[in-house]
Amino acid sequence: MLKIDKAMDQVTYVSMALFAAIWIVLIAIIVSGAWHFVQTHGFVSSVASFQWDPLQSHFGIGSFIVGSITVTLLALVLAIPGSLALGVLGSRILQGKWQQQFVRFLTVFVSVPSVLYGWWGLTVVVPGIRRLSHTSGYGPLSASIVLALMIVPTFSILSLNALRHVPESYIEGSIGLGASEDQTLWHIILPAARPRIVQAALIAVARGLGETIAVQMVIGGQVRITSLLHPASTLTTQLLTDLPLLPVGVPGHHVLDFMALWLLILMTVIVWLQYRLRGSGT
């Protein structure tokens, strides 16, 4: 082995150790803050409570957890038809050079900053919902529409790749047996691509759950979730709005760490699910 090789081995080890060390410290900060909170306020009593009133030291984050999960799942449901249709269009209807251009076009939308989707929500979605429902227009429904459109590019590129991975021989076999193009799509291609599409959906869910700014702009920011059409909050938006209200040192500050820990746990569950579901199908 050369001398430079040995030195560069050490450099890569150190870079990896640095990465691991920094992230362990960062997560330890969140966990220790959350631990402080749990010790003073209790775990079950704060998760199951819907009462949020920092001045009276009521720290029930149940409403935010419900809000986060509702908004994300609704966004996923709204995004599924469009994303799958875009996936089919890009992989089975368009051919050759058009496919590449199509993917490139969608990739641009992945890079559009989320604050622009939030701007779109405020300018287009909120006034629209306001006119249709005679409410303020701010609420989980508007947030999920914005979020749905935001995750469509990611979701459709991933499902497009999933559809492309279906072996050509399956399709030729199906057509050869006399199935129509439609029958092949519904009964062969989509089922064969399902494990990868589920994985794509989970990645989209993770992106939606972690989105802060686009949701915050349209959800209205009330601390109690009542219906889809009335202002509510999610874990991430409440973190954003309460950070200046609960600065470091104030007794309630550690509830923010507790909420961050919840987001970390939800993300871990999503990633774990991705690995579980990937193992079951090929």
């Binding site: 090789d5 081995d9 080890y13 870079s15 990896m16 640095l18 990465f19 920094i22 992230w23 960062l26 900060i29 969140i30 803050g33 469009g82 249709a85 089975r92 209807i93 368009l94 051919q95 058009w98 641009v108 939308f109 559009v112 900053p113 604050v115 622009l116 989707y117 939030g118 701007w119 779109w120 300018t123 287009v124 459109l149 590019p153 459709s156 193009e181 439609d182 029958q183 799509l185 519904w186 990645i203 993770a206 759950l209 972690g210 989105e211 802060t212 700014i213 702009m217 973190l239 954003l240 950070l243 200046p244 470091v248 760490d257 961050a260 987001l263 970390l264 999503i270 990633v271 690995y275």
Partner: protein
């Protein structure tokens, strides 16, 4: 399939009957594309009339009608310094993961861990930076704190991109290089990095575009206003934060147009970065 229509002379004409589902899906897809475009078109319609040289170069003013000059500088400099810090580290990490570590116990923990860090809300990073750097170390709400937050956000993201780039190089090339007597590091320097160079630049463009749009983590670390002169310790509002602030809290008469114009500047910057990095990658490959 629909496009086979153009080749009708050569092939049997497929029955339209069996493809109704495809037509319906194509319809839904076009509707979704229209919705996606509806994000950008109102932005151009509202923002373009407001956009002029004065807007791009002047300083923002309390009562509106200012520009976004310092915001553009902040965005570009902060993202640039962030890449300067985190990209070399991420590249080293990716080299370790792809070139050194082949399915050990470590990799089994590293891959899902990286996945979790990638999907972590950036707001959490903002919270930690406020907790530690600003509250505990008494750093000012400034460009510097913003760069720290951005670097932490970008690190795992860049690792994932670089791992993806390095994995595209076939193992047989590495084996050929080793068989010719090159050491592992010689292989990396002489073969892997030159081959991956174009893709590294293209993916860095993606990372830069993502950081330019970062908002949540910067609101409380880099702040909501700009300093008199650019410096690391002065408050450093970026374009995305400015757009958020003007559109949600802005009280001026022209807040809407100003927000749209800011968004347009941001979008143009992002597209320029994506386009530029792609062109550069193509030029390197040629």
């Amino acid at each position: 399939m629909i496009t086979r229509g153009s080749q009708r002379g050569k092939m049997l004409k497929p029955t339209a009957q069996g493809r109704v589902g495809h037509f319906m899906l194509a319809g839904i897809a076009l509707l979704t594309l229209t919705l996606l475009l509806s994000v950008i078109i109102p932005l151009i319609v509202q923002g373009a009339p407001w956009l002029n040289l004065a807007f791009v170069f002047r300083r923002p003013q309390e009562l509106g009608s200012g520009g976004v000059g310092p915001e553009i500088v902040n965005t570009v400099v902060m993202v640039g310094i962030t890449q300067f810090i985190s990209l070399p580290l991420a590249l080293l990490n990716a080299i370790y993961r792809v070139e050194y570590d082949h399915g050990s116990q470590f990799a089994r923990w590293f891959d899902p861990g990286l996945q979790i860090l990638l999907s972590l809300p950036t707001m959490i990073i903002g919270l930690i930076v406020v907790d530690v750097a600003i509250a505990h170390w008494h750093w000012p709400v400034s460009v510097g704190s913003g760069i720290v937050a951005l670097s932490i956000i970008n690190w795992p993201f860049s690792i994932a991109l670089m791992v993806q780039v390095l994995r595209q190089i076939p193992d047989s090339w590495r084996e050929a290089s080793w068989a010719l007597g090159a050491s592992r590091w010689q292989t990396i320097i002489r073969l892997i990095l030159p081959v991956a160079g174009a893709d590294i630049i293209e993916q860095t463009g993606v990372a830069v575009a993502r950081l330019m749009g970062e908002t949540a983590a910067l609101i409380y670390t880099a702040g909501l206003n700009v300093g008199k002169k650019f410096s690391l310790t002065a408050p450093g509002e970026t374009l995305a934060v400015h757009l958020w602030y003007v559109r949600t809290e802005g009280l001026t008469a022209h807040a809407d147009q100003e927000a749209a114009a800011t968004g347009l500047v941001l979008l143009i910057l992002v597209l320029m970065v994506l386009w530029g990095s792609q062109k550069m990658a193509q030029w390197m490959k040629a």
